[in-house]
Assembly symmetry: C2
Homo-oligomer: 407 residues x 2
């Protein structure tokens, strides 16, 4: 497997376009469209929030119906959540605009939104945007990059990646982009993410694989503990690499899983590190836990704790907050088994050993914590399961961004 330049347009047969529809933001692109030359097998994972955005319901229907997917239209600015029937009608109008412009069956067009909840979308602007984008669809790498920028809200960096790998002698490419910075808390994967591939694979296997990989990647990140109403991750596989279709698990399947895991973990970590107001990526790795479920609960609880996050921001080695967060995570363990260390490129420092705090050099601790990626490494000494979770620090800027988000 090799990382290559680009994102969603890197695989064969995918095109993208963007426009500035002025849905909420001014002076920047805020709509993106990704299309495939041919209908695609598709799979998706969606928010578990009971309050689902209209577009989540629209896309879920496509993924579960068994229909193919051939295009996705995304807007940033308004989430189209808590918008009743009018919101669902906006999804249909958008999909029908694609059918009118490109002749793609509207029932195979996914839509995704991100932004303010409880506000109606301006349908005219969406439809005009689709019409404009239909004329500028482009298969270049740059077109994919522009799409990854158009879907940003409070993100400070665009997130895209592409990899290529070989399946039975055929070169296959997998590309992806995502956005997400606030209201990020795993359950599916609080975010929008779009993956494209020219792989040929059976639909059921595609969905199973996506769900499995999401559990260890996007679902292991958090920015603020708030599971969004709009979480959507879609993958479209158009089969244009002409590999023999993957229909069962085996060597070829494993190659694809590795690539998908790599791509999803990359995008997930980029989102966590670019959390609203964040100055650094905050990773928790829990090893030798009794069960994987316990390891996940503890790792996520550490990176999700406001107090842990504030201490990481302040470069304060207040490790008791991690133990506290592990303690209320729902996992069962004995604090007398636990070893806890700080790890970054500046070094490793153990601060807690089998129930007892160790004395340590505060200056060294601070130097470790000043790195732009900091890991809390926890050895439970109770089993062999492990998990890693990613988050970010809690800063003044998080509060600033969210105290007046709508204006």
């Amino acid at each position: 497997m090799e990382t290559i330049k680009g994102g969603v347009t890197a695989p064969k047969g995918f095109k993208a376009a963007v426009c500035a529809a002025e849905i909420k933001y001014k002076g920047r692109t805020d709509m993106a469209m990704v299309t495939s030359d041919v209908p695609c097998e598709c799979a998706g994972t969606f928010t578990t929030n009971v309050v689902k955005a209209a577009c989540v319901m629209w896309d879920k229907e496509i993924v579960t119906s068994g229909r193919p997917m051939q295009a996705v239209v995304v807007n940033s600015g308004i989430a189209n959540a808590c918008t009743g029937k009018e919101g669902y009608d906006a999804c249909e109008a958008t999909a029908k605009a694609v059918e009118k412009s490109l002749g793609i069956d509207f029932s195979t067009v996914a839509v995704a939104s991100t932004g303010v909840i409880g506000m109606q979308l301006p349908v005219d602007k969406l439809v005009n945007g689709v019409t404009a984008m239909s004329k500028s669809l482009d298969e270049s790498i740059d077109a994919g990059t522009e799409a990854s920028k158009a879907i940003m809200t409070t993100d400070t960096i665009n997130k895209e990646i592409a990899v290529s790998f070989e399946i039975a002698g055929k070169k296959v490419t997998l590309g992806g982009m995502s956005k997400g910075s606030g209201m990020i808390h795993p359950n599916m994967c609080t975010m929008l993410g779009f993956l494209t591939t020219d792989l040929k694979i059976k639909k059921e296997l595609l969905q199973e694989t996506l769900s499995k990989v999401v559990a260890d990647t996007f679902n292991m990140i958090t920015v603020d503990g708030d599971t969004s109403t709009n979480d959507t991750l879609l993958i479209m596989a158009n089969g244009l690499s002409e590999n023999d279709e993957i229909t069962e698990k085996g060597k070829d399947y494993d190659t694809f899983v590795d690539a998908l895991f790599y791509v999803c973990r990359y995008l997930a970590k980029r989102m966590a590190g670019d959390g609203e107001g964040a100055t650094k990526l905050f990773e928790a790795k829990v090893v030798n836990a009794k069960t994987e479920e316990d390891a996940k609960l503890m790792a996520k609880s550490i990176v999700g704790s406001n107090l842990s996050k504030a201490a990481i921001y302040g470069c304060d080695a207040n490790f008791g907050r991690f133990l506290c967060a592990m303690g209320y995570s729902g996992a069962d363990f004995d604090q007398n088994d636990v070893e806890l260390s700080y790890v970054s490129k500046a070094g490793t420092l153990k601060v807690f050993d089998h129930g007892t705090p160790l004395s340590f050099d505060e200056e060294f601790a601070t130097s470790i914590l000043k790195a732009d990626e900091v890991t809390v490494f926890v050895d439970m000494n109770e089993g062999s399961a492990e998990a890693t979770a990613w988050g970010c620090d809690l800063t003044y800027d998080y509060v600033k961004i969210n105290a007046d988000y709508r204006s």
Copy 2:
């Protein structure tokens, strides 16, 4: 029932003392002791965090053993959590110092700590503190107030209350104090709280009542979602009001429950409103839910959401965040049934009605949100259960306080 001046020393036969032991803070009192002239029936509720502080384990043993309680010694500055056997030994040394000075059996002396986790207590300072306080025990109202100040950490105001009521012709008094400002998230009741009463009541009934009242008061507040390692609420009932012992439910019992509820709700709300960095009390009231469990989940989720709290701080009527928080709370409901309003002393404004956002006057919304107590009122229209939860806004100062708490 009548609210009277004072706190833990208001009931008959209770004394308090404080001292400046320099455990962490300098230039202020940081230890408090409360004693009863006679042994008390006692009850307590404790943190559900798996990582329990040494003092929690010490107190829990007293409460569950059936032994009486006659004194409690509190220090602020170091939590005595994650401190292994050395931490437990510090509890015993403190209790034995009380026995030596006052002749109170050490196995009836509770201890409580609050502050930094993962740091050992200076036992010499604790023992010297107990010796000094033993000489200055005082039954005055002021002595109770001083105790409520000595147990503060990042609290900006001390919290105490006392009420008196009549049980079968006898005047009974109930007093209390608590501290808590950060690492506040209900489960028991993330805080330290101490209640005293001269009521005569059967131990089993006292524990049952305390647990029940805590569920609707202290367990319904949150500051930051972090359930502490040290949560402790203790009640001591010395029986000196000479009422006929309450041994079963009935009119007298109900009078006591009302008083206990009033005192606990007062202290809980004071803690929520004094959350670290908070500028206002943030209340969520959910009515007409399917079940009480659902109502509680939703109310707590609203006041616990970082995004909701930041919007409350910014006086931004971004109500979609409350619906989002309700949606991931674990409660099941249909967004098309929901009505949502903002309420404060400045007025009431409905912003969401049966699945559809309403247009509203932003200036009026801001004026409501500028009040120092803001309520989000949610009518589920699906049943008849209700719940209220209390929290505070998320501010720059929360981050500031917690980015470098240890120094």
